[in-house]
Symmetry: C2
Subunit: 114 residues, 2 copies
DNA sequence: CAGGATCCTTATAGATACTG
DNA sequence: CAGTATCTATAAGGATCCTG
């Protein structure tokens, strides 16, 4: 762990820059985002109401927003069945599962520190 | 990946509940929090101004707040030297480094997806 | 059932100015 | 240098109502 070379750009010694809040990290910095990935990943697929039941402290609109963001980020797939009553299934995509895998150690450790 | 047993509490199949936003996860859900852990962890110790230089898009007050929260959570240590001009060094604690280790795969992967 | 639209409240961050 | 205090702007989340 060397120190900064003083003339380097305002980023990291190894050239990696975490400065801007971009991509997945900014998506994860939303309320309940981490938990949602974990919850969806714990199942093959889930319906909206099921997700709500797993995260009772989050409001409908918050969950809805997170799911939209995840879908746009390609982390979650949304499958709509045109039945009556309507049915929608959410599941992690391959990318979403990559994320989940990297989140798991974090969540386990976090749970153990409480 | 089994599905819910329907009668289970509004948590996870395996009994794990991620519902409330608590502890480390809520600390991490703050702006720049993840990056800060990573930046501090990339050095043995850092002064306030150095941290600012590594995260130029974050304001002084935001960084200050994050550092306070980290210190309170026992993730970062703050060492003050009573010199003139004053000098303060921030470093990850053992716990903070545990966290950093679990964050690293996430950050690497996140960077690769951009 | 799934969730969008709206309105409202709170949380959070940023700018600025100032101090030990 | 290393912040804190204050204020303001904005974003984010929650409650409620409503619809395909």
């Amino acid at each position: 762990m060397a120190d900064t070379t003083a003339d380097a750009p305002a980023c990291d010694v190894d050239g990696t820059c975490y400065c801007p809040l971009t991509g997945v990290i900014s998506t994860l910095s939303q309320k309940y985002a981490i938990q949602l990935v974990s919850i969806i990943g714990a199942h093959d697929s889930l319906r909206f109401a099921e997700i709500e039941a797993h995260l009772p402290t989050a409001s409908t609109s918050t969950i809805s927003k997170r799911l939209d963001e995840f879908e746009e980020a390609g982390l979650v797939s949304r499958t709509q069945y045109n039945e009556i009553p309507p049915r929608v299934e959410y599941a992690l995509t391959k990318d979403g599962d990559e994320l989940r895998a990297r989140l798991e150690p974090l969540l386990e450790w976090a749970a153990s520190t409480e």
